[in-house]
Structures are given as C-alpha cells and as structure tokens.
C-alpha cells in the first residue's frame, strides 16, 4: 500500500507541472497591455512602466517564469492587483465554502443517483425503470446554473421556503448554513445524479445476471436480501471509480453555482477577478483548485485500492 501511495504521488508531479505551466501561461496570452488594465485607460506611459517594473513584466518571459516558480515553491502566488493582499491567502480563505458545496453536492448526487439506479434496476423494463432513466437523462441534459435559477424561482420567490442566496457560516448557525447550502448543492448535484443513476442501473443489471446471485436466489434467499446484501455491494464498486472525476466536475461547476447563489467561494472570487481583470487571482484560483482536484483524485485512488486489492498491484 505504501508503494502504491508513493507511485501515485510521483505520477501527480508531471500533472502539477503542466497545471502550473498552464496557469502561468494564462496571463501571458492576455492580448494587449495588462498594465493598462491595472492602471486604467487614462494612465500615463510612465505609470504603466512603473507597474511593469514592479510586477517584473519588463523581464524576459523565461526569467518571469523562473521567478514565478521560485515564489510558487514557497507557496507565494503573488499579490492581487486590486484586493491588496496575497493571492494564496484570498483563495485559501474561500476554499472551504467551495469544498463544502462540492462535498454536499457529491453526497446528494450519489444518494439520489444510487436510489434512482436501484429503482430502475429492480423494476427493469417497467414504467418505473423508464421514469427513473428519463429523469436521469433530463438531469444530464439541463444546464445546472439554470436549474439553480429555477429552484430560486420555485423555492425562494414563490414558496419562500429557502433564501435566494447568501451564505451563513456553519460556525454561526448550522441550520442557517444548511438552509443556505441546500438549493446550491441540489442545483450542482443534478447532472452528476443522472450520471450515477445510469451507472448504478447498468452495473446492478450486470451483477444481477451473475451466477452467485442466481445461486443465492436458488437456495431460497429473499429477493430484497439478495439485492441489497449481494448485488448492491458489488454494483457500487464502479461508482467509487467515478467519484474522482465527479469531484472535478463539481468543483468546476461550483464556480457558476456560487455566482448564481452569491456564495463567497473560490468560484465567485475568480468570476469577480475576471470582471475586474485581476489576473493573479484568476491564475492562483485556477492553480489551487486544480491542485485540490489532483489531491482528491489521489485520495479516491487510495480508497479504491483499499476496496479492490487488484488495483494496488496494477500501478
């Protein structure tokens, strides 16, 4: 297991290298003069030159990259142009909101998806099967941020049950936190719920055709015992493999959902930075979110290796 962990960590290095390189290049591809954006349209050439020098933009690209990497290794992602504070600090401060939103959405997507998938599989070929799968397909096809707006119209504007947006930290009020997170997490979960439901159904149907299920039924075991004790346990293993990918989609999707529901997460920080052209924040937010995702994937692989020992040895 230690060897597996070491191999997995090593294989993350080239990925992180590309991630950091792309994050660096993002600013380099900005067309026109970045300093004009920072100093404003009516700034003088002298002001711009001063900013250029302060940010090191007058140096050759390779030197800029080396300096950027030097600071990156110390955890320094530079200063925000407009917030007057270090990028790392601003992003890390908001990371918990994004992670808890994605985490909650993951739980919802898996719980609802597995439920729908089981329903469809045990009632294979009936209207329940078709209904569940239509729902899953619909979930896969609607834009999640738009679904969020619809949820706001129904549950906040019309029914008045939940707030239209805003964030209550869990440390302040657990109930308030849950109320502020329910709609955003549900909106974010809808697509992945569809994915999980379809996977669960396919994998349940496959497992239920196996010999040991037939044996269990043949020796007189009750149908629901066989389904839940034997079939479901094995059918869920493939779901674990996609948790990593799903987390990525959810982290990316959180960016939009946060701005729909005005949640103070990394996503909204990035969107705000895009509007104000605060490139170091975009760069840092991108880098830290991607690094988080790489880390989550390692955790998922470890969990999978623990569940299914065959994986450990394949590397």
């Amino acid at each position: 297991m230690i060897g597996f962990l070491a191999r997995r960590l090593l294989s993350a290095l080239p990925v992180l290298l590309v991630v950091s390189l792309v994050s660096f290049v993002i600013i380099a591809i900005v067309p026109g003069d970045v300093t004009a954006e920072i100093a404003g349209a009516d700034s003088t050439e002298a002001q711009r030159a001063e900013i250029r020098e302060r940010l090191g933009l007058d140096k050759p690209m390779v030197e800029q990259a080396l300096r950027w990497y030097g600071r990156l290794l110390q955890g320094d992602l530079g200063q925000s142009y407009l917030l007057n504070r270090p990028v790392t600090e601003a992003v890390l401060e908001r990371l918990p909101v994004t992670l808890s939103l994605a985490g909650l959405a993951l739980v919802m997507a898996v719980a609802l998806g597995v439920l729908l998938g089981i329903l469809a599989a045990i009632r294979h070929g009936t209207w329940l099967d078709q209904g569940s799968m239509s729902l899953a397909l619909f979930g896969l096809s609607i834009p999640d941020f738009w679904f969020g707006l619809i949820l706001i119209v129904v549950f906040s504007v019309q029914l008045g049950w939940l707030p239209t947006g805003g964030y209550v930290p869990a440390s302040e009020s657990i109930v308030g936190w849950a109320r502020s997170m329910t709609l955003p997490a549900l909106a974010l979960a809808i697509t992945q719920m569809g994915v999980v439901a379809r996977m669960t159904r396919a994998s349940m149907l496959e497992v239920m055709g196996e010999d040991y299920i037939r044996t269990a039924r043949a020796k007189g075991m009750r149908r629901h015992v066989v389904i839940f004790k034997h079939a479901l346990r094995n059918a869920l293993i493939p779901i674990v493999t996609v948790v990593g990918v799903m987390t990525g989609v959810l982290l990316g999707g959180a960016v939009v959902i946060e701005s729909v529901f005005s949640l103070p997460g990394v996503g909204r920080l990035i969107i705000g930075a895009i509007q104000r052209r605060d490139y170091p924040i975009i760069q840092g937010g991108l880098l830290i979110t991607a690094a988080t995702f790489v880390f989550v994937n390692i955790l998922v692989d470890l969990a999978y290796g623990w569940l299914d020992p065959r994986v450990r040895n394949d590397g």
């Binding site: 609607i142 119209v153 979110t289």
Partner: protein, 303 residues
C-alpha cells in the same frame, strides 16, 4: 496476363466497395431502428432546422426594442414573452440556438481534428506518447469548465475565443480515446499484414487505423457537442462568451436573472432550449454507443 490481373483487381475492388456500402446500410438501418436514436434525431433535427432558418422562423428582430411591450408575459403575440427592453424572447431564443449550435459544431470539428492528430501521434509514435499524454493529463486536471472559463477570460469575450477555450478543454479526453483505439488496432493482424505487403505509414494510419477508430470517436464527439452547448451557456452567463447584445442563450439567461421575481419566463425559455438540444444529442449519443459497441448494448437492453 497483366490485363487479366488488372481485371481481377478491378472486380475485387468493386466487390469490396459493394460490401462496404452494404455494411453502411446495415449500420444506418440498425441505428435508425434504435429508439433513443430515433427520438434524439427527431428532436435535434427540429432544433437544427429552427436554427438554420432562424431569420424566417423568428417573428421579430431579436435585437429590436419595443418600449410599449416591456416584460410582457408569454402570449399568442409573444410566445415566450418579452424582456426588459421589450425584445421578443422567442426570436432571441431561436437566434441564440443558432449561436449555440454554431459554437458547438465548431468545437466538435476542432476537437475532432486535434483529438485525432494528437491521439494518433501518441498511439503510433511511441516516443511521443509519454510527453503528449502527460500534457493531456495536466489539462484534464483543471476541474470541469474552469479551464475554459479562465482561458476565455484571458483571451477576451468573443465567440471565436469561446471556441478556442472549449477546444483546449475538450481535446485531451478525445485524444485519449483515439489513442487507446490506436493502441489496440495497431496490434491487430490486419495491420501487420498491411505492413508486410509494404503499405506506407500514411496509408496504414488513414485506411487501417483511423477508419477503425472512428466509431468511439464519433460517439465521443456527439457528447462533446452536447457538453459544448452547456459550456457555452456557462461562458456567456458569466460574461466571457459572445458579448451582448448577441442573443446567445447564456446571455439571455443572464439578463433574465435580474427579472426572476416578475418575469421568470426570460430565463426559463432559453434554458429549455439548451436542455432540448442537449437532450437530443445525448439520446443520439446513447443510440450510437449502443449500436457501435454491442457489449454495452446487451447490458442496457432496449432502453
């Protein structure tokens, strides 16, 4: 003797061409008798036709203000209602669908092109494989649409930049799929046979490998089309897609956001248009996958 041999090869060629046509007909017949594909194809065709003939179908100019009809609810006059400038939502949605499909198909073409070239290179040229695939892994490490959002933001809001950003985001997975097909196919006996009779690399790549790697690629590109439409809406909604007043579906939803309380139809209908287009594509993709991959079809049943 040579004339005879030429005649033989010619008739053999005709025979092969005929067999190939028959194979195609059989494939299309199976595809069009697949329920999901039928429904998806019908739905998507209607949407494509509406988008193609947007100028004829749309009852109003999508950007014409009408200050006597601000925020009018859906009626016979304005099927989907009007927005804060009195613009007809139905006309805007139809034109927006044209923008979405245009961006979507451009992303599909570009992703297909780059995916095939990179996937082929990685799968066929061994020493390139590792470097290329690590690059693709790195690009895929950016969660979801985040890379596309950042790229589009850096490049500046425009339809072209949205296409570039989405292509960079969706190419890695496509290249990977092509690569894994190539890795399997290149080991097959008929490729070895072709090499043995002296076929060049170019011929082997196009006639033997690409031709057989095509079906997983087409399935993947159908889903890329669907995801591009969703992602374009996100870019527009966040203000890094084609800039307003272009009636892109994401832009209409973003404008409708301020009127959720009194005019929720503004945001509602463009979302439904996106959902319909994506649903059609997903259904077609499911059908294509079932028909081209018999292993999956047997599991999924008729559904």
């Amino acid at each position: 003797m040579t004339a005879e041999a030429d005649a033989d090869t010619a008739s053999l060629r005709r025979e092969i061409a005929r067999a190939r046509r028959r194979g195609w007909m059989r494939f299309l017949k199976r595809l069009f008798s697949h329920r999901s594909f039928q429904v998806g194809f019908a739905l998507f065709s209607v949407i494509v036709l509406l988008a193609l003939f947007a100028d004829l179908v749309a009852p109003y100019d999508p950007n014409k203000n009408d200050y006597r009809n601000l925020l009018a609810p859906p009626s016979m006059l304005h099927l989907f209602g009007t927005d804060g400038f009195g613009r007809d939502i139905f006309s805007r949605v139809i034109h927006g669908t044209r923008i979405s499909l245009g961006i979507g198909i451009s992303v599909v073409v570009m992703t297909g092109l780059f995916g095939v070239v990179l996937g082929m290179l990685a799968g066929y040229v061994r020493w390139l494989d590792n470097a290329l695939m690590r690059l693709m892994d790195g690009l895929m490490a950016f969660p979801g649409v985040l890379l596309a959002i950042a790229l589009a933001a850096a490049l500046g809001p425009s339809a072209l930049n949205a296409v570039i950003a989405l292509t960079i985001t969706f190419t890695p997975r496509t290249a990977r799929i092509v690569r894994s097909s190539v890795l399997v196919i290149r080991e097959l006996p008929y490729v070895e046979a072709a090499l043995a009779v002296g076929a060049g690399h170019a011929r082997i790549i196009v006639r033997y490998i690409l031709a057989n790697a095509l079906s997983p690629l087409i399935v993947q590109l159908t889903f890329v089309f669907a995801v591009s439409i969703l992602a374009e809406a996100i870019l527009s909604f966040l203000g890094v897609g084609p800039p307003p007043p272009a009636p892109s579906l994401g832009n209409i939803i973003a404008e409708g956001r301020s009127y959720l309380q009194d005019a929720s139809w503004i945001a509602f209908f463009p979302g439904m248009a996106i959902a319909a287009a994506v649903l059609g594509l997903n259904l077609m993709g499911d059908g294509l996958r079932d028909v081209t991959d018999p292993r999956l079809a047997s599991q999924r049943g008729a559904g």
